[in-house]
């Protein structure tokens, strides 16, 4: 990930400043990451209203708890997106318990993906490379990631949906992530 290594350390440094309640650093952190967070949350929730609320909650959590970020445990971006995904999944599971998610309108009426202006060159290149790596997965592997990561199913639910046994699903998930990691040159 040499292309975004500089970007990564920039985000880590910004988050350290956010922990000291630096509003300007928070603004920059938001501007560098907002499209990734909102995009992921929208992909999971498929509802602009819920996605806005969840994104707002995520960043307020960042503002209040940035000091909990531990650089030794991973990048600031991974910390942020893990939090965003967790919140989105919690919301999906709450909504699913109350109503059928399929009855809500889809992601079609959200804006098309766009780059954060300042990072467009790096991210355009990164997006292309990641998309290529996603294409190297088998259909079965991609489907597993799709159902679990984006649709919020547990691996047990994925195995029921696909009528496959649990061990198969678990090993497909592992293989999919390993394949991606290898393809992206992340060790």
């Amino acid at each position: 990930m040499s292309g975004s290594a500089q970007h990564r350390s920039e985000l880590d440094a910004l988050l350290a400043r956010v922990a000291r309640k630096d509003v300007d650093a928070f603004t920059q952190f938001y501007d560098h990451t907002r499209a990734r967070v909102y995009g992921l949350v929208t992909r999971v929730l498929r509802d602009p209203g819920y996605s806005e609320e969840t994104t707002q909650d995520v960043y307020l959590h960042v503002w209040r708890n940035a000091e909990r970020y531990n650089p030794a445990a991973g990048s600031a971006l991974a910390w942020l997106l893990t939090l965003a995904h967790r919140r989105a999944i919690d919301r999906v599971r709450t909504e699913q318990a109350a109503t059928r998610r399929e009855s809500r309108y889809g992601a079609a009426n959200t804006d098309p993906p766009t780059d954060v202006v300042a990072d467009s060159a790096i991210l355009g290149e990164e997006r292309r490379r990641v998309a290529e790596c996603l294409r190297t997965l088998t259909d079965a592997q991609r489907q597993c990631i799709e159902l679990a990561y984006y649709d919020g199913l547990t691996y047990v639910q994925v195995s029921e949906r696909l009528s496959a046994n649990l061990a198969t699903i678990k090993s497909r998930m592992r293989a999919a992530l390993r394949g991606l990691r290898h393809c992206l040159g992340m060790t």
Binding site: M1, S4, K21, V23, D24, T27, Y30, D31, R34, A35, R36, Y38, G39, L40, T42, R43, P48, S51, E52, T55, Q56, L60, R64, A73, G74, L77, A78, L81, T82, H85, R86, T110, D111, P112, P113, T114, D115, V116, L123, E126, R127, V130, A131, L134, A148, Y149, T154, Y155, V156, V158, A167, K170, S171, M173, R174, L177, L180, R181, L184, M186
Partner: protein, 232 residues
């Protein structure tokens, strides 16, 4: 030593990192990892870390630009939680000081101190009729006002606004039926990369305007209009 259940635990690391386990199972996995040999726990969290970094990279493919209003709301909310930035002078600080003195005198004679009342900013942000207006400042940067007529107050957030020229200040004006009413001034020292100010009394005003004024401000606007935000 690792046993069959340790291998089973490591098999679950990917699903755990994907949040693809139920809350109950997730808590159970965490307990088992905590009780496992160090080498197993280390291998488990190495896998979790690697999966999360990979997914962070994958997020490049699902980017969607959020609505601009979300940024305004967040910056206003953060301004509310930030106690460092209240550089506007004039009657704003004077009225805050008066409230603080009043509360101090009241609580001095009481055994139990009352809980602090919610700040003006908190009241605005939680108001049912909260609105946001945002505009570019021609000299650079943006001004955003989050306001509520029900609460009769607003919070101004200025981002990356250039300081006023030496010998001048920015002055805020509430525009209404009875003409402009001064709502405070800001000098070069007060202009931070992100500056916030509370507007405690909107009255029937329908816009917030900014001018550049000589010295420490004017009774009526005389200078160049920098920006105007509607308070509809």
């Amino acid at each position: 030593m690792t046993g069959p259940s340790d291998f089973e635990l490591l098999e679950l690391a990917t699903a755990y990192a994907l949040h693809a386990v139920s809350d109950t199972e997730s808590a159970d996995i965490e307990r088992r990892v905590a009780a496992a040999p160090d080498a197993v726990a280390e291998a488990f969290y190495d896998e979790v870390r690697a999966v999360r970094e990979t997914l962070a990279a994958v997020s490049a493919t699902t980017q969607v630009e959020p609505p601009a209003v979300l940024r305004d709301r967040l910056l206003a909310a953060v301004a509310i939680h930030s106690e460092r930035h209240f550089p506007w002078r004039a009657m704003l600080l004077a009225s805050v000081a008066a409230v603080v003195i009043g509360l101090g005198a009241l609580s001095a004679g009481l055994a139990l101190r009352p809980a602090p009342p919610p700040s003006t900013a908190q009241q605005v942000f939680s108001a049912p009729d909260v609105r946001t207006a945002s505009g570019a400042v021609p000299t650079g940067g943006t001004a955003t006002v989050v306001y509520s007529h029900e609460r009769n107050a607003g919070v101004l957030v200025m981002n990356n606004v250039a300081p006023p020229a030496p010998g001048t200040v920015y002055q805020m004006w509430l525009l209404g039926d009875k003409g402009p009413r001064s709502a405070g001034t800001m000098d070069a020292k007060a202009v931070a990369p992100s500056t916030t100010a509370v507007l405690p009394d909107l009255g029937n005003s329908n816009a917030l305007a900014f001018t550049v004024e000589p010295g420490s401000g004017s009774a009526q606007p005389t200078g160049q209009m920098v920006a105007e935000l509607p308070l509809s």
